[in-house]
């Protein structure tokens, strides 16, 4: 359960950003989350509420966009969707693939602020 540490980092990051923008009021944080990030969406959402308490972000929402994992397929020589997180191979030709191109995202994409 490291989602609370992650949520605290998000709150810190958003607070800094808000201060830089002249104490803007943050209404929502938009986050991109990959299936290979090692972070569970539901756990992060509930941790976020806790992490916000007593901060300028209290009452703000965390909006999570889940991404799709992709690998580089050496046979197709192209980016392909990952077959499954339990099976690292090309979803088109089944060739094993270890080069992950997308799916590890854990990124604050944008902040929704009330000027």
């Amino acid at each position: 359960m490291h989602e609370l540490s992650i949520a605290l980092s998000i709150v810190d990051m958003a607070t800094e950003e808000a201060e830089r923008r002249g104490d803007a009021h943050i209404v929502a944080v938009h986050l991109k989350l990959g299936p290979l990030s090692g972070v569970v969406k539901e756990a992060l959402l509930s941790s976020y509420q806790l992490a916000c308490q007593g901060t300028a972000l209290d009452g703000s929402r965390l909006l999570i966009e889940e991404t799709v994992a992709a690998i580089y397929c050496p046979a197709c020589q192209a980016e392909r969707p990952l077959a499954s997180i339990q099976w690292f191979c090309c979803s088109v030709c089944n060739t094993p693939a270890s080069e992950v191109l997308k799916g590890r995202e854990l990124e604050v994409v944008a902040l929704e602020i009330q000027p």
Binding site: I6, Q86, A110
Partner: protein
């Protein structure tokens, strides 16, 4: 009526702070010529026994190795590892379920990295959380004991996928627990195609020669310090 909201782009990795600290550590390790291995596994997989054996063998061969050990509480593991006579330091994480780059940096403050050939970082026993945190290591090693079952890699694909090498431990117990080695290897390859796998028993010494040979092949040659001796253990 509330004022309209505005969307401002940020695009920042949430773990940026850790990544920056890890990058600095990696540079320091590289400059000092120390090869750094981190160990991750579930609790009770034999990490500490494996590390104790690795440290004591390296020391016998005049290779300078040290270890940092992460635990939620107690310094029992550090005490066990200290029996190898290698420098060992405990990082007590409190309630934190994983090590972070800053904790490693802090723990290394009194050590001269240039005096080391190898540094091992034993993470907190946990197959989930450590996967997200880069510690600046050269090699991430994931351990799986035969008593845990062959499907562990499928249950925890992220940690296996982010590891560089897998070690199957306690193979002296394989028969007793009817461990299906073929299935274990298949599952490891499914989540991390091409990963090198070692099978070891710290009790009988089986497989340790291969592991230590691999490790020695990674040693950074230095103008000073240890002479590169061939591994003596079999």
């Amino acid at each position: 009526m509330s004022a309209p909201t505005r969307l401002v782009e940020v695009r920042q990795n949430v773990l940026k702070k850790n990544d920056v600290a890890a990058r600095a550590l990696r540079q320091r390790f590289h400059d000092a010529g120390v090869y750094v291995v981190s160990l991750v596994s579930s609790p009770g997989s034999g990490k500490t026994a494996f590390l104790e054996k690795t440290l004591s063998t390296l020391l016998q061969e005049q290779v300078r190795a040290a270890a940092l050990v992460g635990d939620l509480a107690t310094d029992n593991d550090a005490a066990r590892l200290a029996r190898s006579r290698a420098p060992v330091k405990q990082i007590i994480t409190g309630t934190v379920c994983h090590l972070e780059a800053e904790m490693v940096e802090k723990a290394l403050q009194e050590w001269t990295l240039e005096d080391l050939d190898f540094l091992f970082i034993e993470n907190v026993g946990n197959l989930v959380c450590p996967s997200s945190y880069d510690l600046g290591e050269d090699l991430r090693l994931v351990l799986l004991s035969v008593t845990e079952g062959e499907d562990k890699p499928l249950k925890y694909p992220t940690i296996f996928n982010t590891a560089d090498v897998a070690v199957i431990t306690k193979i002296d117990l394989s028969k007793a627990v009817e461990f299906d080695s073929k299935a274990a290897h298949q599952n490891i390859q499914a989540v991390r195609p091409g990963m090198q796998v070692f099978e070891v028993s710290t009790k009988t010494g089986e497989g340790l020669y291969d592991w230590l040979s691999f490790l020695r092949s990674r040693q950074t040659p230095k103008s000073h310090g240890a002479i590169l001796l061939p591994p003596a253990i079999r």
